[in-house]
Symmetry: C2
Subunit: 203 residues, 2 copies
DNA sequence: CATGAATATGAATTCATATTCATATGAAAC
DNA sequence: GTTTCATATGAATATGAATTCATATTCATG
């Protein structure tokens, strides 16, 4: 958690620091990201940085918190609250689309999450022993779908949850990388969802 | 490329160095992997390391070459040579299964590839401007499948190629991580392939 | 054996960064 | 206007590698 001094700062200054941090962490793996550069970019002295944060990790953790919060804000909250009103494929679709909306609006944030996902030691330091959250989420969704009778009962929820996560990562990555892809044209994405749906559906 | 001195070394010593390097790179992201530790582990002096390799990257590139070579060796070579004898789903299945066999036999190598895949700057240094090889491979496979009439023509080969790659990564990762999973029992994997097949098939 | 070229060695150097700290600044309180 | 406290600063320090280099050792060859 950042120190009080950080939260006492004018919002504008806080934001400058956060923006600078995003820039640096988005373009460098955690261990290569430089506090010096963040401070300079934000227009503060290096010493000040340490008035605000205990250390580099402190800032990074805080940043990840913001990121998770922001990402969650993209999921239609009604769907979260009243999951049972929706069928499995509606929910799956919403998760994918929210992930894609998030990626579209926040392309700079994606690499940060990706890099973290691949540095397991770091991941553990930040999130503790939690398993991969999104894989677990998909897993539950699949179990729910099987209970509903919508999903082929022969599907293994755990491994399939992992795969749905991997696919979502690939998809968002693709959308961000391939700049020419127009995310407002959801046709291709719908086709991918259709592909998944066909694969999972009970027949 | 390592220097001649390296290749002049007795095979046994070469192997000790390679093994030590695998250990270090498998457990640390590239930039945190320490030459010192590799040398110590291999039982050579740090100075010797620089008699064999220009620098850390030189060793890493070489290692990646070995890794790619090894991975390719797992693909049934007849299937590569006579691709047209096989239908799309047979080929896809072979690619997945070979990936899984490789993962099963070489669990230590996987994290190295994964880490590289996620450090795009490094990836480019190692492989140049090549696109992601496996995504491209899947893409061609899909185009072939569409030409054959086996694959839904509405599927976008590029994005789907990316997703198949992501899924294969997730799958191998799962298999290695979750130690209790018995890879000889291919039932679950078959079900995943069945899932993919159902999703892609032209109806 | 003697010789020199190739190889081995690890201490010394360099370099890039995180972090600390003594000091300066400024604003509120009296 | 002085005191006090919080905040700001960037030069100094600490750290942790990568890489170099002067020296020692090995080994093939005459």
């Amino acid at each position: 958690m950042p120190k009080d001094t950080f939260f006492n700062l004018p919002k504008e200054k806080q934001e400058r620091i956060i923006e600078a941090a995003i820039d640096e962490f988005a373009t460098h793996p955690y261990h290569l990201a430089r506090v010096t550069v963040i401070a300079e970019q934000a227009g503060i002295a290096v010493g000040s940085f340490y008035q605000y944060f205990a250390d580099k990790k402190d800032l990074f953790k805080y940043l990840m918190g913001l990121l998770v919060e922001k990402k969650l804000s993209y999921i239609n909250s009604d769907m979260v609250k009243n999951q049972d009103k929706y069928d499995f494929f509606q929910l799956l679709r919403e998760v994918y689309l929210s992930g894609i909306r998030f990626a579209k609006d926040n392309p700079r944030l994606l690499p940060i999450g990706l890099m973290l996902a691949n540095d397991k030691a770091l991941y553990r330091e930040i999130f503790g022993e939690y398993e991969d959250q999104s894989a677990a989420f998909f897993q539950h969704l699949l179990e729910y779908g099987q209970a509903q009778g919508a999903i082929d009962p022969a599907i293994d929820p755990k491994i399939t949850g992992k795969m749905l996560t991997g696919m979502l990562y690939s998809l968002t990555d693709f959308i961000v990388e391939d700049g020419k892809f127009d995310p407002d044209d959801m046709a291709i994405i719908d086709r991918m969802l259709y592909f998944i749906e066909n694969g999972l559906k009970k027949r």
